[in-house]
Symmetry: C2
Subunit: 203 residues, 2 copies
């Protein structure tokens, strides 16, 4: 957590790498659904390698981590669930209704498929782990998952979804949270309960 980023890096991340990553999410999606012939696919492959070489000329050997801006902001840009610079992340954009309740509206397309036409059960778990954990999160003091229990009560169709989480109770640095994923009709498809722990000194 000790790395700091400069205001110039913050600006470049938001103005340049954010939009690049959004385009990369589209590329991931079309690479799955494309019926391009072998020649077009090989040309696309060459363009991907060219982009990788350009970005790879100056490369941090370490993972992104959660650097600080030095003025109270933290940048989880590499995070697999919510990272601005991580094309795997949908990304989750978390709304805090109040201190005890969080929610996210998201669209999960072909790239998150498990059973045909449905979101992978493990992807539902990733969304709920992150969202339940967010109820326990404090700036600069992330919470770690202790336990997580998931009940899959109905298929989760690909498409527009909403996830919600809330705090059931807190006890000496442990947050007991619950939540669910709702389909476009507002029906709960996966229910979750979890215990999240903030390391000593951060509670």
């Amino acid at each position: 957590m000790s790395r700091h980023v400069t205001p110039e890096e913050v600006q470049r991340g938001e103005a340049v790498f954010g939009p690049l990553t959004q385009s990369l999410r589209e590329l991931i999606d079309v690479a799955i659904r494309s019926d391009a012939d072998a020649d077009d696919a090989r040309r696309a492959h060459a363009l991907i390698e060219e982009a990788t070489a350009l970005l790879g000329t100056r490369l941090d050997p370490k993972p992104f981590g959660v650097p600080s801006t030095g003025d109270g902001r933290y940048l989880p840009w590499g995070n697999v669930a919510m990272g601005l610079r991580n094309a795997i992340a949908p990304p989750l954009i978390i709304q805090r209704d109040d201190n005890d309740r969080v929610a996210t509206d998201l669209v999960l397309g072909a790239a998150y498929e498990g059973p045909p036409g449905q979101v992978h059960g493990g992807m539902c778990a990733l969304v709920l782990d992150h969202l339940l954990g967010a109820t326990a999160h404090r700036a600069g003091a992330p919470a770690f998952t202790g336990t997580l229990t998931l009940r899959y009560v109905a298929p989760t169709p690909l498409g527009r979804l909403r996830a919600e989480a809330w705090i059931e109770r807190e006890d000496r640095g442990k947050t007991f949270a619950a939540g669910h994923i709702l389909d476009a009709q507002g029906v709960a498809t996966v229910q979750a309960e979890g215990v999240f722990i903030r390391p000593r000194g951060n509670a």
Copy 2:
């Protein structure tokens, strides 16, 4: 599950789209760790859009699903955990030691980060959901997650990992499975138990 693919499509998938997707995984990683200047990043962005346009000229409007080759093989190539054509997937390559036990060796890099230097708890959940589910899987008869319980007993460092799962017992189409993720020293970091269900008619 009704879509069929031709032998030519299978060949093109394995020879062309598989390697393209592997390069795309590298691009996702460098897009997170790159310290390229704004000009190089904008050029890389343009190349990404060009690749997307090429692949998008012929596009299946539907998610990939699990098409059949017509001769007993199924192709979960869009799957977010194991799909040959899904750049989000590490991908998991599942070894079946025997009917009751499965394992996967994998390397999770910067693209799977949660806490600094560690695998996101939700990503561990995705790996374990998929692997425990694989114990219940039969060709053409995928199992759906009923419940999944995860215990995070130690941080999971980014890097080389192994996950293992096995059947505890089976009861009328329900498979009770357990498993864990092991770090490079063989220490369990996340333990899981789950119940997986095969739809009626497939049990």
